[in-house]
Assembly symmetry: C2
Homo-oligomer: 190 residues x 2
DNA sequence: ACGTTGTAACTATCTAGTTAGTTACCGGAG
DNA sequence: CTCCGGTAACTAACTAGATAGTTACAACGT
């Protein structure tokens, strides 16, 4: 590999920035700390990303795409989708933190993580599952989707009720998965 | 009223600090801005609250107590409790934001808003409602409570799925209340 | 030779927290 | 009633360090 590699530099910056923004938020993150952690000169960071906000947006977009692609949506089996989302949120808390910072410090209302296309596809799948009797037709698809996601993130690191600790015994996780599955199953039964 | 009133000064500081912390978080809030907004000298702020974190903790405790007392818990009617919590979250988004900042920047795992006593009382009420057949005994009370709260906050300003806008038409709120009520009702049915 | 990649040092501004001193209030002595 | 002294409430100005962003210049590779 070459001594000079703009692409690799960019990746190192994004990795360091992801960690720092997830830990401290936009206002709390430090540009010098990120550059030092990445082993990159600060001026180089600015030439790549413009400013601190530009760096945050790049970090957020990258990670939001990753998480959406990582957990495929199954409208005809919402409990399973919820459980997989629970696992993803526990396994990668920094993504949840990043999204929460973005919500608080950047975009105020509306959708956040998913783009229009990803969201639309899920909504259509829910409508179809309502027609075929997997999901109650008593709610609008967008409310079904929002509720399932909220339920899956009940114990996430940004939860206002009760956040799971990283070192919780597997039995706790298993108990929550069962509770979540039961609750989702009942909540949207036709 | 006296020209000098330490208690009134304290209240003005807490009010200004609540607004600033809710808007910008701990790292983003500015001590000078808070003092100026309250019309209080900065040194006075420090004599009252020690430092920035001390001020935040005072602000958070005050508001957390207020919200817990404002929405009484009814284990035998969880859908109604959820709807009242939804309304509270929409009406006072700054409380939700404050709690979310606290979660991200201060306490990492475990409970957040409620103290031991308030939480215990709710958990016992849920256990009782499980015995009397209002709530499924298939889940532990703590999971029931966490899930209900998470569901009620599905559209709150800190939601990762879809945040309600302040100016949403009443029809949207009504639609969400019905969806929430239906979902909660189904999720914990025995 | 020349654009891309990289660096060290710098600046202007901001920020939490402090200090040394001033003013209103209040209870008691005269 | 009024003067006095102590104390609590309050203030202007300051400090030391941090912070985002810039500049002028050097080295690499092709």
């Amino acid at each position: 590999m070459p001594v000079r590699d703009a692409e690799a530099t960019r990746r190192r910056l994004l990795a360091a920035a992801t960690a720092d923004f997830a830990a401290h938020g936009i206002a709390g993150a430090r540009v010098d700390r990120i550059a030092a952690e990445a082993g990159v000169n600060k001026a180089l960071l600015y030439s790549h990303f413009g400013d601190k906000l530009g760096l945050f947006d790049a970090v957020f977009r990258m990670n939001a795409d990753a998480v959406v692609e990582a957990t495929p949506f199954t409208a005809e089996d919402l409990p399973d989708y919820a459980v997989r989302l629970y696992d993803a949120a526990i396994a990668r808390p920094e993504l949840i933190r990043l999204a929460t910072w973005a919500r608080l410090e950047r975009v105020t209302p509306g959708g956040l993580v998913m783009d229009e296309a990803a969201s639309d596809a899920k909504l259509r799948a829910i409508a179809e599952a309502q027609r075929t009797g997997f999901i109650t037709p008593a709610m609008e698809p967008r409310d079904v989707l929002a509720l399932v996601i909220a339920m899956a993130l009940t114990w996430s690191c940004a939860s206002l009720s009760y956040a799971a600790a990283p070192g919780d015994p597997e039995a706790d996780h298993e108990r929550r998965r069962r509770a979540l599955s039961t609750a989702v199953s009942g909540a949207f039964r036709p």
